[in-house]
């Protein structure tokens, strides 16, 4: 037992000390922070009108005179200036624009001039008002009672998604759930690969440098394999821990500048059961990692160099890749479909499939219990199989291993 601790310590310390680890640790949260900043910036730029805007209206049709109403930060000023003269003033003033309504506005497009590309809010507002005015005008011209129409239009039905939970009803923000689900699935998929591959590379390194024989004359191959898996896993957890802490900080800082839609998104994010999601994420990361890294270790033991791993990697990573692709294309839109439920039960696919489903809250306690139990059974099984292959594989040199060969190793006696 003591020796496993020694191995874990070495595996952990040599990796954490590397520069790449530190770089990754700070680069990722910085990216997250940068992304939030970018979203906030884009959202602000397109949706919000920060400064009062003046719109000069040249109405050649005279249909809209006095009917355009000033809105928040938007002021309409009718003018009789010729177009060229009005446009000349735009160059010096970013917050000024000119609206040209031609006589035949129904067939010729209405033009909007400004120094910079106008925000959607501004053009949208103009479009909205003009559409309303135009249709009112048409109705008046055809002697339709606009008051009646207005009344009829008040019957607006809006569907608001409410989720019924034990705690009562609450707003179901599907978007946030989707976002978190997909993010979790991607993160778990990538990390299983990254850390699994690290285990594999470590095994190959020990084999090619031939230190393996020195080590296993001191410890059992199983101890070495387990020590390596746990050591690398702890590196992963450390990385996640650092990311979570730094990302929360980054979001807090980035979130202060967020407003409007962005702020709302952050609020709904905060309404998700983060503790529960985090617990599930850690559980599925740890068990999924143990399950896959054991297989990766077995592959590493069977080959002499990393280039030879291809033939074994493909079948091992297939279920994960398959679930991942399904998750980001289909499953996140149907998190409780039979396919999603089944995939979240099979240990090889559950880490990704379950992480997609969990943020939606549709996973029952029984489902979760079965899936988690199967995960534990799954990783115990793969560890057992991998250990039997590993103990033979690490001492085999220059032999091109096939699956048949691996099966033979499995049945070797001590």
């Amino acid at each position: 037992m003591n020796k496993i601790l020694l191995i874990i310590q070495r595996e952990y310390v040599t990796r954490v000390r590397k520069k790449a680890f530190l770089v990754m640790m700070f680069a990722v949260p910085l990216l997250v922070a940068g992304m939030f900043k970018l979203i906030a910036y884009v959202a602000k730029d397109s949706d919000q009108i920060s400064k009062p805007q003046t719109v000069k209206v040249i109405d050649e049709s005279h249909q809209f005179e006095g009917k355009l109403k000033n809105a928040k930060n938007i002021q309409f000023v009718p003018t009789n200036e010729p177009l060229e003269q009005a446009k000349a003033g735009l160059k010096d003033n970013e917050d000024l624009s000119v609206l040209l309504i031609s006589k035949d506005y129904a067939h010729k497009p209405v033009q909007f001039f400004s120094k910079k590309k106008p925000s959607f809010t501004l053009t949208g507002e103009v479009e909205n008002q003009m559409n309303q005015i135009a249709s009112t005008n048409t109705m008046l011209a055809n002697h339709i009672d606009t008051a009646l129409i207005n009344k009829a239009q008040k019957n607006k039905v809006s569907v608001s998604a409410m989720e019924v939970t034990d705690a009562g009803t609450k707003d179901a923000d599907v978007g946030a759930s989707m976002g978190v689900g997909v993010a979790c699935a991607i993160l778990i998929y990538m990390s299983l690969f990254i850390y699994g591959a690290q285990v594999m590379r470590g095994v190959i390194e020990e084999k090619t440098s031939r230190i393996i024989e020195v080590i296993i004359s001191s410890v059992k191959p199983f101890q070495l394999m387990l020590g390596k898996i746990i050591g690398v896993g702890l590196v992963g957890l450390t990385q996640f821990g650092a990311w979570i802490i730094l990302s929360v900080l980054a979001t807090k800082i980035g979130g202060q500048h967020a407003s409007g839609g962005m702020a709302q998104f952050l609020v709904t994010l905060q309404n998700l059961p983060f503790g529960y999601i985090l617990f599930c994420f850690l559980f599925y990361f740890i068990t999924g990692y143990l399950l896959y890294s054991a297989l990766f270790a077995a592959v590493g033991s069977a080959v002499d160099s990393e280039t030879e791993t291809q033939q074994f990697m493909f079948p091992i990573t297939m279920p994960l890749l398959f679930t991942y692709l399904l998750s980001v294309t289909v499953l996140f839109r149907a998190p409780d479909s039979p396919l999603a439920v089944w995939l979240s039960m099979i240990p090889f696919t559950a880490p990704v499939a379950m992480m997609i489903r969990i943020p939606f809250g549709g996973v029952g306690p029984w489902e979760l219990a079965i899936s988690m139990t199967l995960m534990v059974v799954g990783f115990l099984f793969t560890t057992y199989v991998a250990a039997r292959i590993y103990r033979v594989g690490v001492l085999m040199y220059g032999k091109k291993a096939s699956f048949k060969e691996l099966a033979k190793w499995f049945f070797y006696k001590e």
């Binding site: 020694l6 440098s209 020195v214 080590i215 004359s217 001191s218």
Partner: protein, 301 residues
Amino acid sequence: MLSIRNIVKQYAGHRALDDVSLEVESGKIFGLLGPNGAGKTSLIRIINQITAPDSGEILFNGVKLNQSHIERIGYLPEERGLYKKMEIGEQMIYLARLKGLTRDDATQKLKFWFKKLDMESWWKKKIEELSKGMQQKAQFVATVLHEPDLIILDEPFSGFDPVNAELIKDEILELNRKGATILFSTHRMESVEELCDSIALIHKSHKILDGRVKHIRNSYKNETYLVEYTGDQLAFDGSQPFEVISETAGEDNSNTIKIKLSDNSANDVLQYLLPKTRINMLQEVIPSMNEIFIEKVNLIN
């Protein structure tokens, strides 16, 4: 120290060891000799508990070999290797701790060895920065750092330059004098012949010969002698009390004959030759381990 009893190791397709039994005496140097692929490494791996035999057992000081013995064995595998990217000092301490030493103990011992072998400046170096010979030296230190009772060296001198090989040889002899039992394995029989107290010959998974080197060689003596004399070449007419196997002329009017005795002793030979010529040397021919091995293998075939 080691009692190896009826070990059988079967691999898919071939039997690496077939009913091999050996006794390695405490405090002695034992040579495990045989050509490549004879099964030496298989046996060594079993002693190191890297693999287990299909049948048979090994006793370590009378106790059935178990995990607790690992710390009392030092093993230098034929394929040398260390972590390339790890600093030497740290790596040596790690390996010693895997053998059960405490960190302080390992550090202290390592300092002693580094000083002894002029390696003090290597402590912070990575293995990949060292030459092959230096790596071997470091690996030797790693093998003996935890002061094992039994040191197993697989092809110990391959890869060393003559100077370092001599250095390592002296270290091994010193460790032996201090009480460690040494088990060599090599296919270059002449290289360990003079070092070993006892040997075993392994050929095609079988032990074909074992015992004390002196006894073995004496038992393979076949009454053959070399005689060197100065003077005119002697003519033998068949009345001499020995059989002449070969004659060679040497420098300065000297001749060497190889003779085989049947019933008589070397004294008779001298008595016969003395009046005839001036004798420089008479020496009994003791076969080398290599010759014995070849003879033994031919006998089996």
